[in-house]
Amino acid sequence: MSAATTTPDESHPDRTGTSSATVVTQEEPPRGRHGTGRRSSTSAPSAAPGRKNKAPLRPGRVILHVGLIVWAVLWLAPLAWAVYTSLRPYSETAEKGYVSLPDTLNFNNYVTAWTQADLPHYFLNSLYIAVPAVIIVLFMSSMAAFVLARFSFKLNLFMLMFFTAANLLPQQVIITPLYRMFLSLDIYNTQFGVVLINVAFQMGFCVFVLSNFMKALPDELGEAAQVDGAGVWRQFYQIVLPLTRPALAALATLEFAWIYNDFFWALVLLRDGDAMPVTSALNNLKGAFFTDNNLVAAGAVMIALPTVILFMILQKHFVAGLTLGSSK
């Protein structure tokens, strides 16, 4: 084993400290990314893997945690600041400045923002758009995924790419013809139109995730059903779909958040501010209704709440939805 004990690199405490516990002393082969980092593995038979989990309080760990805590605090700061600002009356912050200790903390800004900006109206609009869109996109994409995952035919791969790539286009690439098309179909300035484009745009991701999931289901399922004489629709509806529930739950969570968070479609495809979902309405709310930072903060917190709460309750689904799409 190489006996080099320290190198400049090892002076970073967070790195030394967190190096896997199997390396007890800092041993290091000649440095360099292209160097010969690998040694014959027989040279260290004594390093027992069992030592790995019991890492007692080593200084490195402490520094790692301190670093992470500082990082986490920085990361939460913008949101925490929004919450703090939202709880303080404007008169007080105007007098003492925003960076000051509070005399009063109350929810008055929330009440004002809620009523003045007519937030309930926009929240409802968001629901009217997101709920049908999620249901329709999940239904349609699970049908397509079922066909693509459970049956082999010539255009299989092409169709999968056809769907997946559609979700990756920047929205602005298609907006001009889409806008004209919506005008001529008479669905411009309708929430139905916004539902439709959200469905079309999110379809690719859902098909991709669901087909991966369905491919992993055992082949015998379909075969057994066929022997029973079940048609493909029954195979889909009664056998495959129920087994796909975990993926559907994950996608429903993620898609609801994404569609709720969509800003662009409704901004361009709706003319009446009244029909806008809350995220797109932000554009008008900013100047017209929210006159000071305290109100802006209260509005921001309320608009963030639905996805934040969703995330806190269904964190597992959120992460699963994203990673189902990425880890094949």
């Binding site: 980092g37 992470l68 990361w75 913008p78 066909v147 049956f151 298609i174 963030a304 990425s326």
Partner: protein, 303 residues
């Protein structure tokens, strides 16, 4: 029953299965209906953009074919085009070279068996669940010149979002705030999939932490790296909401996406011209999308 009809899913190569004609109609509809929606509302308009980019049209009077004139004007006499292009490049570079490595770094730190890793993960992931529009909204509370946290805390009087020399960077901090968590989650999933014995073997071999990571673990993350690259590029090209919320994408915050939108929604709608910008964006994104598709579906093509 034969399976030679073209319209229906044809004969499966692996196993000989027989489907009734009803089944084939059902299968065709199940795949056809969603495909039609995507064709009509995504790919159709994408092709439409290409077509319109060779025309001059204000949406009211007759359309007029103009060849490459829109592209020529775009490159030569349309002042916001090159700044917007440049801003998009900067956007991409910052996400790719700052935010993405930070996300990877966080993922590596949190992949270790440390206490409270779930809490840390939730905190870093939290901004990802917010819309970019809302992120812009929230960060104005920090950046605002007379009421913002940063100026009040430091006593400075910087117009963070109004000064065209610095506002792009200020906005990129906010955009990165969201991007880091996204990348962290993707890499965490990837790292979970890396065989523990690979990581241990590297350590046992006497490689230090960083070498073990870059030489042994990182190469095995190649599929995730491709996804992260694509996510980053697409996010960079799509960037719109945050600048639109802040100042409608003007005064130093011009982006290609904003120019497209302005050319169709404005009073003087120049549809052909806006489409030409859209095609530029389309071509750039297709390069990455195709790379991604080839990488992702390589395995499947071989089966």
């Amino acid at each position: 029953m034969t399976t030679t009809t073209q319209s229906a899913p044809a004969a499966p190569p692996r196993k000989v299965r027989r489907y009734s004609s009803t089944d084939r109609v059902v299968l065709t509809l199940m795949l056809g209906a969603p495909a039609l929606v995507v064709l009509a509302f995504i790919w159709g308009p994408a092709l439409g953009s290409v077509f319109l980019s060779f025309t001059r049209w204000n949406g009211v009077t007759a359309m007029e074919p103009v060849g490459f004139q829109n592209y020529q004007q775009l490159a030569t006499i349309y002042p916001p085009f090159w700044p917007a292009m440049w801003h998009n490049v900067i956007w991409l570079l910052v996400l790719a070279l700052v935010a993405t490595p930070l996300g990877l770094f966080l993922a590596v730190l949190l992949d270790k068996n440390i206490k409270g890793t779930r809490v840390y993960q939730s905190i870093f992931y939290l901004p990802v669940v917010l819309s970019l529009a809302l992120v812009g909204f929230i960060w104005t509370l920090l950046y605002s010149q007379d009421q913002g946290l940063i100026n009040q805390l430091t006593g400075a009087n910087v117009n963070w979002l109004g000064n065209s020399d610095i506002n792009l960077w200020a906005v990129l901090v906010a955009a990165s705030w969201r991007h880091v968590g996204y990348i962290m989650i993707l890499y965490l999933a990837g790292l979970k999939g890396v065989d523990v014995s690979i990581k241990e073997a590297a350590a046992i071999d006497g490689a230090n932490q960083r070498q073990a990571f870059f030489q042994v673990v990182f190469p095995t993350l190649k599929p995730i790296n491709v996804i992260v690259l694509v996510v980053t590029v697409i996010e960079g090209l799509r960037a719109f909401d945050i600048v639109y919320i802040i100042n409608k994408g003007t005064n130093g915050l011009e982006l290609l996406s904003v120019l497209i939108t302005n050319n169709i929604i404005g009073e003087a709608s120049r549809i052909g011209f806006g489409s030409a910008i859209a095609v530029v964006l389309l071509v750039i994104s297709l390069v990455f999308i195709i790379t991604y598709l080839v990488q992702t579906f390589k395995k499947e093509g071989a089966r």
